[in-house]
Symmetry: C2
Amino acid sequence: MPKNCNFIEKLREVGLRPTKQRVNMCEVLFNREKTFHFTINDLVKMISEKMNEKISLATVYNTVHALEKKGYLKEISIDSHKSYFDTNTLAHHHFFDEDTHELIDLNESDIDKINIRKNITGKKINSVEVLVRVASDNQNQK
Amino acid sequence: MPKNCNFIEKLREVGLRPTKQRVNMCEVLFNREKTFHFTINDLVKMISEKMNEKISLATVYNTVHALEKKGYLKEISIDSHKSYFDTNTLAHHHFFDEDTHELIDLNESDIDKINIRKNITGKKINSVEVLVRVASDNQNQK
DNA sequence: TCAATAGTTTAGAATTATTATAATGTAGTT
DNA sequence: AACTACATTATAATAATTCTAAACTATTGA
């Protein structure tokens, strides 16, 4: 979604009612230069601050899942203990910093095209994603 | 770990007391031809059957984590709702079948060597792993 | 061999993340 | 304005995992 667009119309277009909570969530998520990664808890805090009032945790879960279903968010499974979401919904690769638990996008140009030689009969490939785990140079692997 | 080895000695070598529960867990996990993937619940069932008595869920969690820390198991994060473990502890790639939630290992030869062109100062690469999501050919992506 | 002790197992309680529920509220339509 | 369908909310329920403290067991060394 482009910067400074009207999220009321965007939401309506995809069949989601543009409630106060949803519009605020969209502004927090999409009204920015670069895509980013977040957890549900991060998002609750950010929206509550923006709105200057509480938002129900259940609403954030519901709305995140609604946006995910419409293709505006993507869930990232990296750490089994936390669920991350990404506003970059294209298939892409990540660095995961094992020290800070920070997630960093890799550009297409940072990695060679990946060719999968095996295929499974009756199954098609939906996505191919690489996870590069990194950690501080002067300490051992966790 | 090779087939039919004595897990009592193996456990002792890495500093884990060879208790009845741990030896049984090792036999379930490592006394087989091929590496495999499992969840904690799968494992509780398998060990209980093998022992012909109940094993505490807490013990399975403790022991899986002890084996993981010693490098005999590896956690795989694919599905944020379930935690999978793998007896193949080498960095390797996977197919994930989105229909059945089955996890299939990819051989080294099934995929070209991956070259990461970007690097982060002060960080070293610990692993590079590819996840290929597949689904039935005649249905849309989940 | 046998007691001391340090690590282990256990059932159940606690915690955490997520989903369900049901009452209240609100957007869109007439 | 009023109806209706969908949303939001606080709270309860559920599920996965971790914690706790008492009972147990493998190891050590007298």
